[in-house]
């Protein structure tokens, strides 16, 4: 699975990182940085959890 972030929508809530720190890192300002181009299978559940934590709906998972 692959995660995409809409940079124009991410506002630095950092809730993806709070929910799934192994998939989503945040920069010095609190904006998301993706740790994996292709999410490893064992982190897929985490990737979904982090994406659904975003109040802006800025994260999408592509199967």
């Amino acid at each position: 699975v692959k995660v995409t972030v809409d940079r124009s929508v991410c506002q630095g809530h950092a809730q993806c990182n709070a929910a799934a720190p192994d998939v989503y890192e945040v920069d010095d300002l609190g904006y998301v940085e993706l740790l994996h181009g292709e999410v490893p299978v064992d982190l897929e559940a985490d990737a979904r959890l982090g994406a659904s934590a975003c109040p802006e709906r800025a994260l999408r998972l592509l199967d």
Binding site: V9, A18, L29, P55, E56
Partner: protein, 406 residues
């Protein structure tokens, strides 16, 4: 496109007082009958948007929903608070400067100081066995944290608390006194004007946010003092009553719900994280009502909003919308995953202090329940709350239940 004729609600009032749940419940009752309402009060007209998805979409569209007016209570603001009342792109530079000081990483650095301050307040309450949560804890903790972050002396605390009260709380009759509010705001402006000029003249740089702000540049030139003062006023207003009121509603909930109180105490006793509990309390008791001014005619769910109209987004009811979350109409402290609530807003004006609020609330919850796991509202006490731009409480008496009494 044909739109149904608009029915105007003449009953609703932005400002009022009543029992603790009413500020939010009245919006939940409205939301049960529709998503968008036009309200006409004797002194003002505005729209209310209640649906979760609509609220998020509107807040994300800062071009159509401008922050030049953030409350129908102040349709012509005396000055623009920076950056909350700026629109992009001017807003963006300020937001980026501020975000560095309020990032999750930066907030962890504040933790030891916040914990120490919190413990002092709680030790005092424990010694007495009772407190007024508002005046002994919920007002003092975030205000002290603000003074420390800005590099202002702690002995200013009583002065700041008085200004905060005059700006955010309705008068004794539950009415809204714009003169009193604006007067206190100008007192805060005066304080920061003097402090900034004192620091400029002294020429020394201390390691705090206010001193750093004096070095900020916007569009490649030093930010003017007027703008910095307005930004200080915003930081003061945005970070204090919001956390204060969230603490008040959260502690009122826990004091009146024994099972939830026991769940928090047990979580803290096991040394487990309280983030999920904090998120659920933030969701259910979102205290701000966010306003915007419409810049162009726009249709929202079958209603035509005209350029120049004012809109209110009561975040609390958007967070309780069952179409976005199961069991949204009740507090569930052990949800499998935290709900992506809108308590900190959405779009470019997402609350820059959200991570500070979160760490303050987590520290308060842990430090309090480690020392004071059991407490109640004394029998016979009627707690009341007010609502307006912010929902809050005047006072919240609590009686500590010690182990021997349980």
């Amino acid at each position: 496109m044909t739109l149904a004729p608009e029915t105007t609600n003449t009953e609703h009032r932005l400002v009022g007082t009543g029992h603790v749940g009413e500020g939010a419940d009245r919006y939940d009752r409205l939301r049960a009958t529709g998503s968008v309402f036009k309200v006409a009060e004797p002194d003002r007209e505005y729209w209310v948007v209640l649906d979760h998805d609509l609220v998020r979409q509107c807040l994300q569209d800062a071009t159509t929903f401008s922050s030049s007016v953030i409350s129908p209570l102040n349709p012509e603001p005396p000055f623009a608070m920076i950056p909350i009342q700026l629109d992009p792109p001017e807003h963006t530079q300020w937001k980026m400067l501020l975000a560095r000081y309020f990032s999750p990483r930066q907030m962890e650095a504040l933790r030891p100081g916040l914990e120490a301050r919190c413990r002092e307040l709680i030790a005092d309450i424990k010694a007495r066995g009772e407190c007024d949560l508002l005046h002994d804890f919920a007002l003092k903790f975030p205000t002290a944290a603000f003074l420390e972050l800005m590099g202002l002396p702690l002995d200013q605390l009583p002065t700041f608390l008085e200004w905060e009260k005059q700006i955010t709380t309705p008068d004794d009759k539950g009415g809204f006194d714009e003169e009193r509010q604006v007067g206190a705001m100008f007192a805060v402006v005066g304080y920061f004007a003097e402090e900034i000029s004192r620091r400029r003249n002294a020429g020394t740089h201390t390691d705090d946010l206010l001193s750093d702000m004096l070095t900020w540049e916007i569009d490649g030139v030093p930010a003017p003092d007027d703008a910095l003062i307005n930004c200080c006023v915003l930081l003061f207003l945005a970070g204090l009553d919001t956390v204060t009121s969230t603490l008040a509603f959260s502690w009122h909930h826990l004091a009146t719900h024994a099972a939830d109180r026991a769940h928090v105490a047990a979580t803290v006793a096991r040394g487990e994280a309280t983030d999920g509990i904090v998120e659920e309390l933030l969701r259910y008791y979102a205290v701000p009502e966010v306003g915007r001014k419409v810049t162009r005619d726009v249709e929202l769910d079958g209603h035509l909003l005209r350029a120049g109209d004012l809109v209110v987004f009561p975040l609390v009811t958007a967070n309780r919308d069952g179409s976005f979350l199961a069991d949204a109409d009740r507090v569930v402290l052990d949800r499998a995953q935290a709900a992506p609530h809108l308590t900190f807003g959405a779009g470019p004006h997402r609350c820059v202090g959200s991570h500070l609020a979160r760490i303050e609330l987590n520290i308060a919850l842990v430090e309090w329940h480690r020392e004071l796991p059991d407490y109640v509202v004394p029998e016979g006490v009627e707690v009341s709350s007010y609502w307006g731009n912010i929902h809050g409480m005047y006072d919240l008496p609590l009686q500590v239940v010690d182990g021997a009494d349980r």
